[in-house]
Symmetry: C2
Subunit: 170 residues, 2 copies
């Protein structure tokens, strides 16, 4: 179809291309917002790829890592399911799912609060503590200390994301 020597329809950056098409269709007021949203979606995907690659040797995903990290921080290493969902800002069923897998991996135990037997407490095991500490060291080294932006820009990006969260009622 094309005479482009590097292949047909070479597109450098799909997001830039989408922005161009939005403007070409007259959606001028929306083009920049579309580009921002699409960029965030893509960055999210790339960052999670990096994070999950680091966590893979520990047989963890980011979702389960966050649960373990939260429990390791908690006093007594115990937090109720509902409270975890609230702190991690995920739905109760996601907590159920994550804790179920962590329990199978023997990184977490389930306990029932005696004063209110409806409440399930997730409790990190000694092995869970070892795993989460090792995983945190690696995550810090390989992702969080090298997030892909200069230190000042990291702060700017964080501030903008915080504003976006606030605008969405977070």
């Amino acid at each position: 179809m094309s005479s482009n020597p590097a292949g047909d329809d070479e597109i450098r950056d799909p997001i830039r291309e989408a922005h161009r098409l939005w403007e070409a269709h007259g959606w001028l007021e929306a083009a920049n917002g579309m580009a921002m949203v699409t960029s965030i979606v893509r960055v999210h995907q790339l960052l999670l790829e990096r994070v999950d690659a680091v966590l893979k040797p520990y047989d963890l995903t980011f979702a389960r890592y966050e649960v373990l990290r939260l429990l390791a921080f908690a006093s007594n290493g115990r937090v109720s399911m509902t409270r975890m969902g609230s702190l991690l800002q995920v739905h109760p069923t996601s907590v159920t799912s994550a804790v179920a897998r962590l329990e199978r991996q023997e990184l977490v135990e389930r306990l029932r609060r005696t004063t209110d037997r409806r409440v399930v407490l997730a409790s990190i095991t000694d092995h869970g503590r070892e795993v989460v500490e090792a995983a945190t060291v690696r995550l810090n080294e390989e992702v969080f200390e090298q997030p892909g932006l200069a230190p000042a820009e990291v702060l700017t990006a964080t501030r903008l994301m915080t504003d976006l969260r606030a605008a969405a009622g977070d």
Copy 2:
């Protein structure tokens, strides 16, 4: 445990709290990066919530919307599966999954390229075009024109996300 009158362990912003804990554990070099990554993950979640809410009346998700939008832009309304995965930057199986659902909804048809019968072309139907144009109008109005930041900040955020994508080899 706590004497906080508004309940125990009131936490305003889980991300700020995580940042504090990271510093308290001496992970100073990683704390800002952790906060940025966590913020992006959260913003992604909130934005997709907004987008999916707008698309719900059209029985679309963002993933399927992107496929439809791409097809509507393409000449003849046709694109091969592999090329869609490349342009949308998702795995081939995600394209298969999205096109399968769109086909059931009669928004897309599958054709086979005669000159190379390995290639499947997704082709948008007239009904698909109607749906995607209507959905685009709503998305522009309700999300992309009101992304939650001032216009200048939208540009800054987009630039930072673009730099992050470049750093990740996008």
